[in-house]
């Protein structure tokens, strides 16, 4: 019995470690370069995650989602040319397996509902990004929802 429990504990620990270092390929989309820079620094703190590209508006995000095939897209809402919600819809039409985390300045239930309706898996507010970003990317990369 004790051996079986020990084996199970080792299995769980191994699974967690594997999960921690599971490679996640991320595309960052925000029209402000300093914000993209900050997001990149935060995401770089997680071992195994890789920021494979950046985009500064919705149109560029849709193009890069097709060419780079990221696992997760961290997507701002308010951007020039095409906003994040529209980009979210178009990206998921082309690749339903891609997971999208919306990151916005709007702390609003209505906006959250709209993001979900567009297919986003996660929603966080920019002012809490430093606190929520890693947990949110981890959740959506495992196809779990993250709403704050």
């Amino acid at each position: 019995m004790e051996v079986a429990q020990a084996q199970q504990a080792i299995y769980i620990q191994g699974f967690r470690a594997l999960n921690t270092f599971m490679a996640v390929r991320i595309l960052i989309v925000d029209d402000h370069p300093v914000v993209r820079h900050g997001l990149k620094v935060l995401l770089g703190e997680h071992p195994g995650w890789e920021v494979i590209g950046e985009a500064s508006d919705g149109v560029e995000a849709v193009d890069k989602a097709v060419t780079l095939d990221p696992d997760v897209i961290v997507l701002d809402v308010t951007m020039p040319r095409m906003n994040g919600l529209e980009a979210c819809r178009r990206i998921l039409q082309k690749d339903p397996n891609c997971e999208i985390l919306v990151i916005t300045q709007y702390d609003s239930q209505q906006m959250m509902r709209e993001a979900l309706a567009c297919g986003a898996r996660g929603y966080i507010v920019k002012s809490n990004a430093a606190r929520d970003l890693l947990a949110a990317v981890e959740a959506v990369s495992q196809h779990r929802s993250f709403m704050h």
Binding site: G38, M79, Q105, D107, M111
Partner: protein, 236 residues
């Protein structure tokens, strides 16, 4: 010796971006970070940075009021103001408060390093619009100020500027007194003086005044952006 820089912005993700940008420059170190103007002033007292990069729209004490206090506290300390707008009024107040650099947040990734380099060489750094305004101001003086028709704000003392921000953020006179280490009576006197100077009659008027004059910034919360829409001011 390394140039010591302090960064103040209420959004941690923006702060991280700014810090990474500045740390990447050889010979510079970020010696401290602050999440509002008051914390920036306090930390600058202890850390004595050479340069402070200050966001304008911060809670508790905004970047313009903090610039004024930093300049008075340590005239050697050079301040770069980061702002989402280069409106005439913000430019005028930033210059008046003693800022040596003025960078738009949207251009920070491009301009911030150049701005710090300029200050390191004892020069100033402004956006093209600020340069135009400074030049226009100089020409006005040359011509006896005939073209200086822009309305000026009533003169509030630095303390009154702090009080108006805190009141507009929803604090009571008692809470203002606690934050500023004053008696409630003194806070109330500041409040009446502000209302009188500005010709305001209610706290609603005061909040509107604070928003209109960039003393506080409002985050929009219940609007859906159109499919094609530029970033709204809080921008980060």
């Amino acid at each position: 010796m390394k140039l010591r820089i302090m960064v103040a912005d209420d959004h941690e993700v923006v702060r991280r971006g700014l810090v990474a940008l500045l740390q990447a420059h050889e010979g510079w170190e970020v010696c401290g970070e602050a999440a509002d103007g008051r914390e920036a002033v306090e930390k600058a007292k202890q850390l004595k940075p050479d340069v402070v990069v200050l966001d304008v729209g911060m809670p508790n004490l905004n970047g313009l009021a903090a610039t004024r206090q930093l300049s008075e506290q340590d005239p050697r300390c050079k301040v770069i103001v980061l702002t989402i707008t280069d409106s005439d009024q913000v430019i005028r107040e930033a210059l008046d408060a003693g800022a040596r650099g003025f960078v738009l947040k949207s251009d920070a990734a491009r301009d911030l390093v150049a701005a710090v380099e300029a200050l390191q060489r004892n020069r100033m750094f402004f956006t093209p619009r600020v340069n135009d305004m400074v030049l226009a101001g100089f020409l006005d003086k040359e011509h006896g100020g005939a073209r200086d028709s822009a309305p000026r704000l009533p003169q509030l003392t630095p303390r009154e500027r702090e009080v108006i921000q805190l009141l507009a953020e929803g604090k009571s006179s008692k809470e203002v007194a606690t934050v500023l280490n004053l008696s409630t009576k003194t806070a109330e006197t500041h409040r009446s003086n502000i209302m009188r100077k500005l010709g305001l009659h209610s706290i609603r008027d005061l909040v509107l005044y604070a928003i209109k004059n960039n003393i506080i910034q409002v985050q929009l919360s219940n609007q859906t952006p159109r499919p094609e829409q530029e970033s709204v001011p809080s921008g980060s």
